[in-house]
Amino acid sequence: MSLFKVAINNMVQRRLRSVLTLVGIIIGIAAIVSIITISQGLENSIESQLNSIGSDILFIRAKGAALSAGLSTDSVLNENDLKEVERTNGVKEVSAYSYNSGQVSFNGITKYFYAAGMPTENDRLPLVKRATTYTLLKGRWFEQGDTNRVMLNYDYSTTKLFDKAVEIGDKITVEGQKFTVIGFFDQIGNSVDDSLVWLPYETYRELYGLGDNHGIILASVTPGENINVVSERISKNLCKHRGLEEGKEDFEVETPSELAAGFDTILSIVNTVVVGLASISLLVGSVGIMNTMFTTVLQRTREIGIMKALGARRKNILTLFMFESGTYGLVGGIIGVITGLAFALFVEAFFAQFLGPRWLLIEINPWFILGALLFSFLLGCISGLVPAIQAAKMDPVDSLRYE
């Protein structure tokens, strides 16, 4: 038998009070564990996607044109701008593509998705291939000279979009024009990408009356050049070319790491808010443990007196009650960690179900779990410190007489 067993004994005797005491700690730890695990999972996912894009590609687009690809805003980029980018020192290859919402009909049903134009020229296709990170599921990629051909993203190969899965060689109508399906891309994990229709760029331009405008210009950087320096140069050259003052750009040059930084900022704000709220819950939980321990100490005054008469030192009594409150913290921590991880895995499954498989990559970090458990044990100990000191200081004669 040990003091630890004595402490556990006492807690089991008062199950309901023990459970109520734990609620605050459980909520706090569960919230922290789930949010940190989820946000780490999002970071993993973003990182893995950005890694596959490659860190040498710059994205240049008209300002405020994230989704409409520059077509609905005043500023647009065109072939001349692309040539200007190509002339910039440190740029290796350039390419461009565009996308816009499009009417897609198949098997007698019409729906609206995004349609995009992909260059088929040998000097422009490879860079777009790299930037999209698409891999071919079946069929073939575009080739120079393709006109009435279409490549489809993953969801068309399933029955998700239309009643019938589209097959290679099927005819599909985009913006009123018929195309033959030549290839499918593998699943990306988000519904926008996975429902895209890709047309040869020339055909797309005619269909949308694009002239020589571009939605997004891509530039790869010569090996050995600093991507941020090249980005600055492009920005400067384009300003001069478009007759703009520096600092008043109507376009953006983005590097993959800037895209990631944007996400990281949002994630860290969300993290801070949730951890802040969870801290309040932990504080409430801590006060709850303290309150329970004060009650326990008072109710067991006579037991404390008995133990002191039987030879217990202040240290023994202190240890006994600290063990008890530490165990409250630890048990709360264990339940909280399990709840938090379960919630994170539920969210991962939810994302996978509705958005696609690569959005959230949950990894369970054993050190983080261990840290959370240690933290909750220590929080319990600290919460019980003052009541335990009070118990240890009790006078043996007075506490023996306590009824």
Binding site: M1, S2, N9, A309, L310, G311, A312, R313, L400
Partner: protein, 222 residues
């Protein structure tokens, strides 16, 4: 003969509100090793306070308490606790068992506060000796008053103390159980040479082989 306990003119005052109550008014008492001492007195005579002094649960306001010739005045609370745990076994009127623990766990409780070997076997032996060999996993609520007091006696013996200090040990028991408990105490005194200090108001507990100390109004009465 060697004095195991010496009380030298001890006085104890309590402040009750603004009134200074003199509970013990100068008691000198020597107890020898192996004696069976019955301290007897009416309620309010200062018996319990005297027990606290002998049991080194409290220190006197004046005078000195010597345990095995050693003055306890200079020991702090923790040193007193260690000394108490090793030297004195307590038996109380209310039994004072821990309700959430089994008989065996209660007997082992004093060993948790001292470093030493595992005493589980000894605890089982002691429980068997007091006639509870088949009740070691019962909790106090599942035992009769007499049985609870036997558990308390086993507990008082676990650290093999020289002195057993019993405060009204039969006060909450029927006369048959009370007699059996007294029998046990006499056996411990005679067979194991334990020094027994028994505090009571019950004159029926006085038997031969006991040294009687009468206390009245905080003083020893002749």
């Amino acid at each position: 003969m060697k004095h195991i306990i010496e009380l030298k003119n001890i006085k104890k005052n309590y402040l009750m509100g603004e009134v200074n109550v003199k509970v013990l008014r100068g008691i000198t008492l020597n107890i020898n090793k192996g004696e069976f001492v019955v301290i007897i007195g009416p309620s309010g005579s200062g018996k319990s306070t005297l027990m606290n002094m002998i049991g080194i649960l409290d220190k006197p306001s004046q005078g000195s308490v010597l345990l095995n010739g050693k003055n306890i005045a200079h020991l702090d609370e923790d040193k007193l606790a260690i000394l108490r745990g090793k030297t004195i076994g307590f038996i109380f009127q209310q039994f004072n068992l821990i309700k959430s623990m089994t008989a065996l766990e209660n007997v082992l409780l004093p060993t948790l506060f001292l470093e030493g070997p595992d005493r589980k076997e000894r605890a089982i032996k002691l429980l068997t000796k007091v006639g509870l060999g088949d009740r070691i996993h019962h909790r106090p609520t599942e035992l009769s008053g007499g049985q609870q007091q036997r558990v308390a006696i086993a507990r008082s013996l676990i650290n093999d103390p020289e002195i057993i200090l019993a405060d009204e040990p039969t006060g909450n028991l029927d006369s048959a159980s009370g007699k059996a408990i007294m029998q046990l105490l006499h056996e411990l005194n005679q067979k194991e040479d334990k020094t027994i200090v028994l505090i009571t108001h019950d004159v029926d507990l006085i038997t031969k082989n006991t040294k009687i100390v009468k206390i009245k109004d905080g003083k020893l009465a002749k």
